[in-house]
Amino acid sequence: MVGKRLILAVMLLIIPFGVYAESRIFAELSSFGHLLWDEDEQWDFIGSASGELDIRSQPRAPVQARLQLRATAPITVTAMYQQLVISGDDIDTELEIIGALGAGMIEVPRAHLRFRFPVTDAYSFRVTAGIDRVTWGLGSVLKAGDLLFGPDISGEHTGLAAFDEVRSETAMLFAFYFPVGDMSYTETVVRPRSGEVPDMGFRNHSAFGTVSLESAYLYRGEDAEHVFALSSQGEWLGADIYGGVSYTDDFHSWEDLHEGITLTAGAFRTFRVGFDQSLNIRTEGLYSFADDGRLLLYGDIGYIPGRTVQLFARALVEPADDLETAAGTGISWNIFQGMNIRASAMSGFSTSGPKNFAVSAGAVYSF
C-alpha cells in the first residue's frame, strides 16, 4: 500500500518537473539492520529501509523551491530473541521469528518557496514560505538562543547515534530576511500552530572582528510567553567559544523571575593529530533555573584518521537526574562518492542501570 502511494507520488512529481530541465532530482536510499535491547530485557533485530526524494530548483536563482519526501519502511523482518532460560541444569533458548511488514511512513521534511527582490543596488529582501529549517542561536546542541526549537534536544535522544546532525528539525514557517550591511541581518519569523496563536519573533545577527553576536525575541502563542535571548561567539586559544542566555516570562507574575533564565555555553576545538589526522572536541553545558534548576551536559569527539573515515562519540548527560545519559558512538566510511557504510552503537543508562541499547549497521547511497 505504502509502495503504491509512494510510486504514485513520485510519478506525479517527476512528470511535471521533468519538463523543466533546470530542476534537479536528488535521491538517497539507506538500509540498516538494528539489534535492539530494552529495559524489558528483550532483544529485537529489525531491518529498516528508507528513501528520500529531493526536488530542488536552480540554486542562486531569485526564486527557489524545494520539495523533499521521505518514505520509511521501518520494519521488514523482526526476530525476537527471548531471554536465556536456565532451569536446573537445562539451558534453553527460545527463539521466535516474526515476519512482518511494518506500517510505512511518508514525511515531508521540506516544502518551501524562497524568493528575494532588490531593495537597493546592493541588498535584497528575502522571503521564505513553507516547511523549512531555520537555525537560531550560536552553538551546536545546547543553545539558549534557539528560541524556535528550544535550547536542548530533550525527547530526541535517539538522534545522538545518527550520523546526521543532532538538530534537524523543520517547521512550517514564514521568514523575512533583511540584510543590514555585509555581515549583519535581521530575520523575522512567524510560525503558525494549528488552533493556537502563532509564534512570532525576530533576531538580529552581526559579525564584527572575531566576534558574532545574536539577539532574539519570540512570542510563543501557545503559552502566551515572551522569550528574549542573547548569544555570542568568539575565538580564544584557537578554539571557538560561544554562549547564550535566554529569559522566558509571561509577565503575569513578577515572582521568581530567575526561573525563566536559561544559560548555555560551549567550546569547539580542532587538533591536528600526527601530520594529517584531526581530532574535534566539543563541550557544551546548559543550566535552566526553572523547577529548582536543571543541568545538562553535552560532549562530542570526532576523529578523522583519513580522508574517508570518520569516528565519533557523543553523550548527553543530566547529572541531577540519576546521571541519566544518552550516549552514542560510530564509524562512517565514505567508500565511494555518494556512498557511506556506517555502524553505530548507542545506549541510554543512568545510575540505576542500562535502559536500552542498540547497534546499527548499514549503508547510505545518494544519487
Binding site: P179, E235, T270, R272, G274, D276, R307
Partner: protein, 243 residues
C-alpha cells in the same frame, strides 16, 4: 682578456638574477596570483584506491582577503565558503546554518582532500606568515626556477616550513614542498599547467600529494578565469553566502 669577458658576463647576467631577493620574488609571484577581482570555475578531484571523487566549484575573489566559493557538484551543491580576512564562514544549505571557523579549524581538510580551508581560500600573503630565504636557482621540469625556503613566523600556519620553486621568467610557483616542524616532508605541490589571463599568469592545474599516506593526491584544476570583472557589491556578505 678571457677573465675580463668572464667578469663582464658575470656582472651582466648573474646580478640580474641575484639582485632579486626572496621577498621581491614572492611579491612578484603574488602580484600574478592576487587579482583585484576574479571569477574562476574549477574542479577538485580527490583520488584514492577506490576511485575518484570530483567536486566542482565557482570562486569569486577580491584582493587577497575576500573569497567566496560555491560548490556546484551534485554531492556538495549549495555549500559555500566565505572568507573575509581572518574569518571563514561555512554555509550548509540543508541545515540553513552558517558556521564560523576561526583559529585551528581553518587548517581542517576541505571535503576530505589534501587541501585545507586555509589553502583553498588563501587570505594572508606569504610574507605575512613566513620569513623567506633565497636558496638559489635550479631547473624544474626544464624551467629555470628560484628556490625559496619559507620558515613560519607564527605557529598559526599549516606548515612550519615550506620550500617553493618560482619560475624565474614567469614568476609563477611551479613546485612546492611542505614540511613538519620535525623536518618530515608532508605534502608535495606540483604545478602541472599555468594559465595566462590578461597578463596574469597563475597555476591552473595543481596536484597536491600527501606524503604521509598512500593517497594519489588531490588535483585542483582551474577551468576558466575572468580577471578584473565587476562583482556584485555585496557578494562577500552573509546574505550572498546564505542565498
Amino acid at each position: 682578456m678571457k677573465q675580463i669577458i668572464l667578469v663582464l658576463a658575470m656582472m651582466l647576467t648573474v646580478p640580474a638574477a641575484w639582485a632579486m631577493t626572496a621577498q621581491d620574488i614572492i611579491e612578484r609571484m603574488e602580484e600574478n596570483q592576487t587579482h583585484s577581482t576574479s571569477i574562476m570555475e574549477g574542479r577538485m578531484v580527490i583520488s584514492d584506491r577506490f576511485g575518484d571523487r570530483e567536486s566542482t566549484y565557482i570562486a569569486h575573489t577580491e584582493g587577497a582577503g575576500r573569497f567566496l566559493v560555491e560548490f556546484t557538484s551534485r554531492y556538495e551543491e549549495g555549500q559555500r565558503i566565505l572568507r573575509r580576512d581572518d574569518s571563514l564562514y561555512l554555509y550548509y544549505p540543508d541545515a540553513r546554518e552558517t558556521i564560523r571557523l576561526q583559529g585551528a579549524a581553518l587548517r581542517d581538510s576541505l571535503l576530505g582532500s589534501d587541501v585545507s580551508y586555509e589553502d583553498m581560500t588563501g587570505g594572508r600573503g606569504i610574507l605575512d606568515d613566513y620569513d623567506a630565504k633565497l636558496l638559489g636557482e635550479e631547473s624544474v621540469g626544464g624551467a629555470q626556477a628560484y628556490m625559496i625556503e619559507l620558515n613560519a613566523k607564527t605557529a598559526a600556519v599549516a606548515y612550519p616550513k615550506q620550500i617553493i620553486w618560482v619560475d624565474a621568467e614567469e614568476f609563477v610557483m611551479i613546485k612546492g614542498e611542505q614540511y613538519a616542524r620535525s623536518g618530515r616532508l608532508l605534502k608535495v605541490t606540483e604545478v602541472l599547467e599555468t594559465m595566462d589571463v590578461d597578463g596574469f599568469r597563475f597555476p591552473s592545474r595543481i596536484r597536491v600529494t600527501d606524503q604521509t599516506r598512500r593517497s594519489q593526491g588531490t588535483l585542483m584544476v582551474v577551468e576558466s578565469a575572468q580577471i578584473g570583472v565587476d562583482l556584485p557589491a555585496n557578494i562577500f556578505s552573509l546574505e550572498e553566502l546564505t542565498w
